[in-house]
Symmetry: C2
Subunit: 146 residues, 2 copies
DNA sequence: CAAAATAACGCAATTAAGTTGCGTTTATTT
DNA sequence: AAATAAACGCAACTTAATTGCGTTATTTTG
């Protein structure tokens, strides 16, 4: 399988720099994250036409997360979403976006809301904070009309 | 089962005002939401010493949500949490808190972070927004030490 | 206030997300 | 190129959440 690379990025190199094995699947998976704001296991399975075992996908996502390539995105359904880390905002121990994310409760797509700014991280006594997310939910244009 | 009522509130009346049946369990469940910042099905089961069938709990939570008593709280694990609606901030179609919520990734407890203020809801073209949540995750004092 | 209608409840069975173990294959290290 | 380590696929498993249905409790109404 070959996925078009619109980003002029060397995904294999990015994986290597993060200490992640450069398998064909993982290179394509990283590419996919550069094309989609966020992904669930099911969405990844569909993108790879169910040719990749779901266990492989779960383990790749865990590996990407451990190595600081992606992070979880909270949502109020019970499906785990992952989103690419932004080097400007994420570090190994602290993940945030500077903007809100909208999750459609019908189609489950996520969208960046650039004019919703997240507050800065400030220490709170007794809490070890490692992620901050501003989450908006509802219905996107397509799903609201139907 | 009888749960102490620290709030001088008539839970049966609140249920009636929202069009929810006043069963013993639902009265006690509403009381519980006034005592805990947020609850999962499992936490409710434990609080009722597993005497209430889990299906009953699921259906009660769905009913409470539909009638605008509680709303879902996003988190990045895959467990659905519910939190009491605040009449100042929530309406039937729009749920928000004016402050952030911290979820411990170990014990799963939630805590209000009053000095993290949520941004105001502003309309975004093409999106029908019905909830806004500022979610912080990490480890609480107890879990960070262990 | 009693009968009819409606909704909640409990049980059993099912669906679906996510996890674990293990033998095999592929990538990385030396 | 050989040795080591990690990824992969399969099957089986765990757990959260859902559905159907007969029974019990609550609400409506006449």
């Amino acid at each position: 399988m070959k996925i078009k690379n619109d980003h002029n990025l060397d995904f294999a190199l990015i994986l290597a720099n993060h200490g992640v094995s450069k398998t064909k699947f993982r290179i394509n998976l990283l590419n996919l994250f550069y094309e989609k704001e966020s992904l669930t296991v099911k969405e990844v399975m569909n993108k790879f036409s169910n040719l990749i075992n779901k266990v492989t996908i779960y383990r790749a996502l865990v590996s990407f997360e451990e190595k600081g390539l992606i992070h979880k995105v909270p949502s109020s359904n019970n499906i785990i979403r992952y989103s690419l880390c932004n080097s400007d905002e994420c570090s190994a121990s602290l993940h945030k976006h500077n903007h809100g994310h909208f999750i459609c409760n019908n189609c489950n797509q996520t969208f960046c809301l650039e004019n919703y700014k997240s507050p800065d991280i400030k220490p709170v006594d007794g809490f070890y904070i490692n992620s901050l997310n501003l989450i908006l939910e509802g219905y996107c244009k397509d799903c609201h009309l139907n």
